[in-house]
Point group: C2
Chain length 198, copies 2
Amino acid sequence: MAAGQRARMMEETRAKLLLAARNAFAEKGFAAASMDELTAAAGLTRGALYHNFGDKKGLLRAVLEQLDAEMVAKARAVGERAATPWAGFLEECVAYIELALEPEIQRIMLLDGPAVLGDPSRWPGQTACLRATTETIQALIDSGTLHPVDAEAAARLINGAALDAALWVAAADEPRAVLPKAIEAFRCLASGLLRNEV
Amino acid sequence: MAAGQRARMMEETRAKLLLAARNAFAEKGFAAASMDELTAAAGLTRGALYHNFGDKKGLLRAVLEQLDAEMVAKARAVGERAATPWAGFLEECVAYIELALEPEIQRIMLLDGPAVLGDPSRWPGQTACLRATTETIQALIDSGTLHPVDAEAAARLINGAALDAALWVAAADEPRAVLPKAIEAFRCLASGLLRNEV
DNA sequence: TGTGTTTGCATACGGCGCGTATGTCAATCC
DNA sequence: GGATTGACATACGCGCCGTATGCAAACACA
C-alpha cells in the first residue's frame, strides 16, 4: 500500500504544480512568471519543480501537453456530432477558434509556447491537434471531397488561420462582435479546399 | 552644421543598436539576448540603449517596425508586377511566405514579437503588412472578385495561414521540398475567397 | 566669449530570478 | 536493522534588467 501511496503523492504534487503553472503562465506570461511564487502558490518550493519537470521549459512542455489534450478532446466531441465529414471538420475548426478565445490558451499555447519551444510541429507529439487535423484532411482527400493537396500542409494552413483568427478576435475591442465575422471568413476560406464548389 | 552633425550621430547610434539587436534577437531569441553583449557588439553600452529606446521591449518594437517596413516593401514590389489584381495578391502572399523563411523574420516577427508585445494587430501601426493586405482584399471585394466577407477578418486569416505555413516550412527537415506543397495548398485555400470558381 | 543648461552616453548600484549543489527525512531493500 | 534510494527543501552563485548618478560636449544667451 505504501508504494501506491507514494506514487499517488507524486502525481498529486505534479498536478498541483501544473495547476499553479497554468494560472501563473496565463496571468503573467511565461517570462514574467516567477518559479518561486508559482511553487509557493502550490504549497511547495522550487525543489519539487526541478525534481519533477527538469526546468522551467519542462514545466511549460507539460502544461502544453495538458492543454493540447483538452482541446483536441473537446473539438473532436463537437466534430463527431455533425452530419457529414466535411461539416464535422468545419465544426471542429470553429470549435478550435472558440476554444482559443480562452485567455489561458491564447497566452500559453499561441504566444509563449512557440516563442519558448519553437514551432509547434516540433513539440512532443507535434501537438495532437495538428495530427488530428492532418488525418481528417487526408481522409477527406481520399474520399474525393477535397482537392488532392498535401494534407499536412493544408492542416498547418488551416490551423494557422484558425488560431490566428482567435488571436485577432480576442485582441479586438468587441470580441463578441467580430467572432462571427472571423468564422464566416474562415468557412469561406476553407471552402477553397473543396473539390466541387457548392 | 554642428546641429546636423549631432542629429546624424544620434541616428547612427540608433542604427548601430538596431543592427546589433536584429542579429542578437535573431540568433539567441529575445529572452536570451543580453543587453550588455548586444550593446558591446555595437561599440556602445546599455546607457545608449535605454536613452534611445526606453527599455528592452522598446528596442524590439523598433526592430519590428524596421522588419515590417522591409517586408511590405518587398512584397508589394512583387505583387505590382502581376497581370491581374487577384494574381498580384496571390504573388504577394507567396512572397510573404518566402520572406518568412528567413530565420531573422521567423524568430523576431513570428515567435518573439507576439509573445513579448502581444497580438500583432495591436502593434504600432498594427503592422503595415496587415493594413496592406486588408486594403487589397477590400479592393478585390469591391470589384466583385471576392465574396463579400469582412476584409479585416480575411486579411488576418490569410496572413495567419501564410506566416504559419512559413513557420512550418522552415522547421521542416527539408524546407526546399515542402515549400512548394505549402504554396500549392495556400493557393487552393485562398481560392475559397473567390466569387467565381475558376 | 563666458557661463548655465541641456543632451548623449557611460558607469555604478540594487534587486530579482534561474539553475545547481547540498542537505534532510522517510520509504524501501537485503 | 543498517544501507540506499527517492522526493523534496534549503543555500549559493551568477547573470541580467532597470534606474540613479556622473561626465563631457554641444547648445543658449547676454
